[in-house]
Symmetry: C2
Subunit: 337 residues, 2 copies
């Protein structure tokens, strides 16, 4: 563990080193029960009111990509983290770190995009901060958004609520965001047509929670992709998760780019996809709601939590074999969000 003495890109990739950094540096330093749950946000009670607080910094490169930009991404990312905790997102903060020389017109464009995304997600950006560093001390603009939501759902949505036998449901095709940013960055010489799936998930989650009385866990498949979050959840829950690769939707264009670049869509970042864990008895109700929602039309059951196991993600592959999927190592795509 943590043989490195210096930060490497992989520490930010959402895979094994990200996990080790949190476990070996942040958790021991800040130790408290809320942080140690390592969910997408912190849920606590203030004078009887259940609230959720989250934070996320955005360093995506390039700043604009097909289907989105750093501004809308910064709003969606934090709205989605709140939604994954079962919270109704209410208020966001916006902290900008700007590099000297950054274009004011581009900054205006980014803030307009944030504002539009906030309106669509039904949240308000109520306070902010701006720092400026000299040329070369940052790369254009970095944005932190933190978010506050109120948790009205009565059950505890958490890895700890997952039970053997639970179904694993995914709301749509994976890899679009990672592939879109990669294509924008690599200047591949052709238009892939792939758009980022960056979108706010609070609406679809609210509808699911209203209809279905028993949801166990929600997790959005951002950095490290669906593979990383399912591997992490299986490790945290100490339960084996069996996933059927053939059941995971992937858009044809994403498959094509992955073949060209030698990447696995399972580990590509998403910004509008999430895994949902619930009892089998709830599957029909959940799928009904999801499939009627614009962000869940291709929703599918992709796996099950096994009765026994030691916390492994077991994938039945397309060609019929079985493989253990571990947290990814190596930085797949730096600065994807």
């Amino acid at each position: 563990m943590m043989e490195q003495k210096q930060i490497v890109l992989e520490h930010g990739g959402g895979g094994r080193l990200s996990h080790e950094l949190v476990e070996s540096v942040f958790v021991p330093a800040f130790k408290n029960a809320t942080l140690e749950r390592l969910e997408d946000g912190a849920v606590f009670t203030v004078e009887g009111l259940r609230l959720c607080l989250t934070t996320d910094s955005f360093v995506v490169h390039p700043l604009f990509f097909p289907g989105g930009d750093i501004g809308s991404l910064a709003v969606h990312g934090t709205v989605n983290d709140l939604a994954m905790c079962g919270a109704t997102p209410l208020y966001l903060t916006a902290g900008f770190i700007l590099e000297e020389g950054f274009s004011l017109e581009t900054l205006r464009e980014i803030t307009r995009s944030m504002a539009d995304a906030a309106v669509k997600a039904g949240v308000q950006i109520v306070t902010g901060d701006t720092k400026v560093v000299a040329r070369g001390a940052a790369d254009g603009v970095f944005i932190n958004t933190s978010g506050l939501g109120v948790v009205r759902y009565g059950r505890e949505i958490s890895v700890q609520s997952i039970r053997p036998g639970d179904a694993v449901i995914l709301n749509g095709p994976i890899g679009d965001h990672g592939a879109a940013v990669l294509c924008a960055r690599e200047n591949l010489g052709f238009d892939s047509g792939i758009l980022s799936d960056s979108q706010p998930l609070n609406g679809i989650v609210r509808e699911i929670l209203q209809v279905s009385p028993e949801i166990h866990c929600l997790r959005d498949a951002t950095r490290g992709g669906l593979g990383a979050i399912l591997a992490e959840i299986s490790a945290q829950s100490q339960l084996d998760i069996a996933v059927d690769e053939a059941a995971i939707p992937v858009n044809e264009a994403v498959k094509g780019i992955c073949e060209i670049l030698g990447l696995d869509p399972l580990f590509l970042a998403n910004e509008g996809k999430f895994a949902l864990f619930c009892p089998q008895s709830e599957v029909r109700a959940v799928l009904d709601v999801m499939s009627r929602h614009p962000y869940g039309r291709q929703a599918a059951v992709i796996g099950t939590v096994k009765e026994k196991g030691a916390g492994r993600l077991v994938m039945k592959t397309l060609i019929g074999g079985t493989r253990i999927v571990d947290l990814p190592t190596g930085e797949l795509v730096p600065r994807i969000c």
Copy 2:
């Protein structure tokens, strides 16, 4: 206004260009009543509970300076912004942007400092995020802290609550943080002995609010110093504020450094000093509490809000003259916090 087409260092300095950036970019984009108040944090009500949300990014250079470091500063800064809104700080988030190659041991040291500062301020760091960018795309580490507090004080603490005749009270000598960071950075060739005043103000504010029934406004004198915040408050309130320069405490060592470097302590950053506005009838009670508190031993009345005026800060100078103090222009000390 905003003739620049690019971000310059002064946009982050807390002076005129910072103000213009907020007014011309962020307020029009995110328009909502809470943001437009432009206080240190956003105060709103969720299901009957008054809450305060704040955010601040920290890019201080160097990371360690006499009297503090970026970690403790990041905790104090956000705790203090909450305190200035009359809120009891409860929970903090921590967002790290790390440069590839940054020392893990230094990161551990910074997180330990954050943890210590959080314990002393009585807050918990409950959730976080880490991003890593390639070498050269950031400078070591930037930290965002956002904070949530509960507002139990019944009155509205705001620039809008300031009334003609109010006393202006300061809790102690100004310029220590700015001078300490400058000395650490400039390698002046001698030990100035100046320590940053970086400290949590929630304790002293809580004691004041408990004792005094009528406090109108609180503002910590961070970037741009006491001069900038008083000039800003006079402009926002459209009331003249008369300040007596001789009444403002400045440590001898800070005076000395300012003379050597040609700086005015009035515009040097502080991280543990604040101005308090209250009716004259409350002055004795406020000073009693402040002067017994370790962070207010040199508290003093430094000015008054005039009956009439158009929003100017009018300073009676040490040599007996009078000058109008405007928002500072030009970047005094980049990356001071």
